[in-house]
């Protein structure tokens, strides 16, 4: 049989390999997608800001950064002032400058969007100021904020992601001693393991963690998981307060036949593997990749698979384009990267011998507002299937745990859980799963914990 005939009848499968692209090209593909603005670019962009009063961009930022204030400081060449303004409101301002979907946050609300469909590039300007602030801190060995005198209070934080780090920094600033326990070997949470490589290039996540803890009074203890090495009861006894910032590290299954086949992976694991590789030449990717899902994770997995050298990447979502949780900007990004979008189809079976070879879809449609599977469908060739259908809380059900509803830890306005002295924030509580929201939660949890330890919090 000819080679072509072979591939028609035997759908292949198992064609998963690393180094599909030369190392130099990989370096380009995974470098900063939006590099730092030059001094002139920043000056020109800063001059576009109207310095609005009661600015709508501030209201659209979950951490309420004084955006007109820091942009004016950039415009007057007061970079130190700009950086401080941002970091005061959001100690992970550097990460947020890189990863925030600004089109649905500050930039979406910018009056320049209303005026000329072209917002002030707030995220890019934020990076100018925060990069400078972090560089200054690294060079001088001086953290921009000083700690209040020690209070003698001790707080345990579970999870060293954006929520846990923001909470820790705020508590340390107030003079409390903080221990952060994380299940993983490296701190940073999804900044370290999850965000697309070209959004957070080089070792930024690690540098930011180092910057944050340089305020002092924060100890990070790796490889310690709640429910594994740690239990909440002991922590509550040993510390004055506890904050749960454990994110959503479980992954949802497709719950269809064939999920155990080789080549079927969780998208977050695929990305984690890629983020931990220094030059990406050892990251295996399929020749034909199918990504299931319609959120950020699906987009990131698809684009990064393409950039690793996959020949064909299809992203299949069960509803329409406008229903996708990924923003329009994210979708366009995937399109220009050559990802093939397919809408209105859901996977029904994964097929292959040992390794996945193909994936069978049923077309979907809405009936009385409900999504239903249709009769017909199609088959896509697949050497690798990346599942990005959502994440979940990963803690074993335990009587000592606070109340959980719909997969999220229940909290009140002060981010207090059902257990006294136990607070929670970030992806593990209800709300939008964004880095900046996690930071806002962490900060608010810290304020509540501070009040609680002073006996000023009711509830």
């Amino acid at each position: 049989m000819s080679a072509t005939g072979d591939s028609v009848y035997n759908l292949g499968g198992g064609d998963i390999a690393a180094s599909r692209v030369p190392v130099a090209r990989l370096a380009e593909c995974f470098a900063d997608a939006h590099p730092l603005l030059s001094r002139d670019e920043a000056a020109i962009e800063a001059a576009r800001c109207y310095f609005c009063y009661d600015a709508p961009c501030i209201a659209a930022c979950p951490t309420s950064i004084d955006i007109p204030g820091f942009i004016r400081a950039i415009a007057t060449d007061n970079l130190a002032g700009a950086g401080r303004k941002i970091l005061e409101a959001n100690i992970l301002g550097g990460a947020c400058a890189r990863v925030c979907p600004t089109e649905i946050l500050c930039e979406g609300a910018c009056v320049r969007t209303a005026q000329q469909h072209k917002p002030v590039e707030i995220g890019a300007l934020q990076r100018v100021a925060t990069d400078a602030a972090m560089a200054r801190a690294a060079a001088s060995g001086q953290h921009p904020f000083t700690r209040a005198p020690s209070t003698g209070k001790r707080v345990a934080i579970l999870g060293a992601g954006p929520a846990g780090l923001a909470c820790a920094h705020e508590l340390a600033k107030q003079g409390h001693a903080v221990a952060i326990f994380d299940a993983k070997p490296k701190p940073g949470g999804l900044n370290e393991y999850g965000i697309a490589a070209y959004k957070m290039a080089d070792d930024f996540a690690a540098r930011e963690v180092a910057f944050i803890i340089s305020i002092g009074g924060i100890k990070i203890i790796p490889n310690q998981a709640l429910g594994r090495e740690l239990d909440l009861g002991t922590l509550r006894r040993d510390y004055d307060a506890v904050c749960l910032a454990i994110g959503q590290s479980g992954v949802k299954a497709l719950a269809i036949p064939g999920e155990e086949l080789q080549g079927v992976m969780d998208a977050v694991r695929f990305i984690e593997n890629l983020r931990q590789s220094s030059d990406k030449s050892d990251v295996p990717v399929g020749r034909h990749v199918v990504v299931i899902g319609g959120g950020n994770t699906a987009i990131d997995a698809a684009v990064q698979a393409k950039r690793l050298g996959a020949e064909q990447v299809s992203l299949v979502y069960r509803r329409g384009r406008e229903d996708m949780p990924a923003t329009a900007v994210e979708q366009d990004w995937a399109l220009v990267n050559g990802v093939d979008f397919r809408h209105w189809a859901a996977p029904v079976a994964l097929e292959g011998q040992g390794a996945v070879q193909r994936i069978r879809f049923a077309r979907t449609k809405l009936e009385d507002g409900r999504l239903v599977l249709g009769e017909d469908g199609y088959i896509l060739r697949a050497d690798m299937v990346l599942k990005a259908v959502g994440q979940s809380l990963e803690i074993s059900e335990d009587e000592a745990l606070p109340a959980i509803r719909a997969g999220r830890i229940v909290v009140n306005e002060d981010l207090q859980t059902s257990l006294p002295g136990v607070f929670a924030g970030g992806d593990c509580i209800p709300g939008q799963d964004l880095t900046v929201q996690a930071v806002a939660d962490g900060k608010r949890a810290a304020q509540s914990i501070n009040a609680y330890m002073k006996g000023e919090l009711n509830g």
Binding site: R48, Y50, C52, Y53, D54, A55, P56, V111, R112
Partner: protein, 423 residues
């Protein structure tokens, strides 16, 4: 098509756009390029006596505004640093090559009759169309008793002008310095001395900035700075006022308007306040000679639109409306009005009025879109909000019906009022 030709104090040019005496007119090479680009005339870079002056290296300071470069510029250059005969030879050649363009020669020699008597025939021999007396340079030359040192003393202005009229047949334009309290004094002196026209403004004594690392005023020369002459878009309002004041007071004296002119609209404003020609320096130094294309077509199109056939139709049109504050109608009122469909919600009008004006703009919480509204009774019609609003046409100032006319001269609050209010 409007006729842009001018006859300014006997000097003819195909359009009113001249390059002012400055680096753009320093030598034949530049002037030839300028004429090719379409400039109607030049005032040649100021000539002096030999030996020529020596210029410093590092000559200009500048300030930008909000990302725009060269809102204002200053210089510490002196007059031409080339030998007199070289300039005269080039002037002769250029004038021969471009007979239809105005070639005016700027002069600055010591305040002695002999010096002027010596240089004037040499200039006249080149075939130049006229001379401009540089009584304005505020640095370097004034310390030697020339430039602004003459321009600031009306009697000297009159004396030197008279010498020039005496020793030459060329039209004489006296260039005035703005570094003086009352611009009318030197202008009147020039007229008494027989000047055919005045031109203004020369540059304003200034320091554009200080290098805060080295603690030196800019531009720095080997670690030291000195004051220079300020020009560019920032000085236009100052120049316009001075031009208007001379036009209003010294009727019939031709004025060549200078100061911050960057486009046809600036030029039209100078014409409207009494100028018969305009001169440009900084804008050409910023963008090159090609800017004249838009100046010519823009002015011409605007004149066509307004029905002005020639430059004389425009010159001085706004002068009669340039009055003293005492002649303004205190009974007249205008009120701000915000177009909610155009408003982008920046809040600048509100905070400007709230913090620094009359608390007349309030936010209406309508849920969806933020709407700012003017409280008519509180608005004094100061225009501030309409100036800060970044959306053109969003805030308009609406004149209110007023039955009375009441100037300060007639106002009951004026203890020295001259007449009863008109009814």
């Amino acid at each position: 098509m409007a006729d842009l030709r001018i006859d300014f104090a006997g000097i003819k040019a195909p359009n009113p756009f001249w390059l002012a005496s400055a680096p753009p007119t320093d030598k034949a090479y530049n002037v030839e390029r300028a004429f090719k680009a379409g400039w109607g005339g030049v005032v040649w870079k100021t000539l002096g006596e030999d030996p020529p002056v020596v210029n410093v290296s590092s000559r200009y300071g500048a300030i930008g505004y909000n990302g725009q470069r060269l809102m204002g510029m200053n210089n510490i250059e002196l007059i031409t640093d080339r030998p007199l005969h070289l300039n005269l030879d080039e002037i002769r050649t250029v004038k021969r090559n471009w007979p239809d363009r105005a070639v005016v020669v700027s002069l600055m020699v010591p305040c002695e009759e002999e010096s002027w008597k010596r240089i004037l025939p040499l200039v006249e021999a080149t075939g130049a169309d006229g001379i401009e007396l540089n009584f304005g340079c505020p640095h370097g030359m004034s310390e030697r008793g020339m430039g602004a040192a003459v321009g600031q003393v009306p009697d000297y202005v009159q004396m030197v002008t008279r010498w020039c009229k005496h020793y030459s047949r060329m039209p004489v334009i006296v260039k005035l310095t703005p570094n003086i309290t009352d611009i009318l004094k030197p202008a009147e002196a020039a007229r008494r001395g027989g000047a055919d026209a005045v031109s203004l403004i020369n540059t304003i004594t200034s320091i554009t900035g200080v290098d805060l690392d080295n603690m030196v005023p800019e531009p720095a020369v080997d670690g030291l700075g000195t004051h220079g002459g300020y020009c560019g878009p920032a000085v236009k309002p100052i120049a316009l006022r001075m031009v208007g004041e001379i036009a209003r007071s010294l009727k019939g004296l031709p004025i060549s308007g200078i100061g911050g002119i960057s486009g046809w609209r600036d030029a039209a404003e100078f014409l409207a306040l009494g100028a018969g020609s305009v001169q440009v320096c900084t804008a050409a130094m910023h963008y090159g000679f090609r800017i004249v294309e838009d100046m010519i077509s823009g002015l011409s199109n605007w004149m066509d639109e307004k029905g002005y056939a020639c430059i004389d139709d425009v010159t001085g049109r706004a002068v009669k409306n340039f009055v003293h504050w005492n002649d303004l109608n205190l009974a007249w009122k205008t009120i701000a009005s915000i177009d909610p469909t155009a408003c982008i919600g920046c809040g600048l009008c509100h905070i400007a009025c709230e913090d620094t004006a009359h608390q007349a703009i309030k936010l209406q919480e309508t849920g969806e879109k933020r709407i700012y509204e003017v409280i008519d009774d509180e608005c004094v019609g100061c225009n501030l909000c309409s100036h800060v609003c970044p959306v053109s046409g969003c805030i308009t100032m609406v004149p209110q019906a007023t039955a009375t006319h009441l100037t300060w001269k007639q106002h009951p609050n004026n203890p020295m009022r001259v007449a009863e209010p008109a009814q």
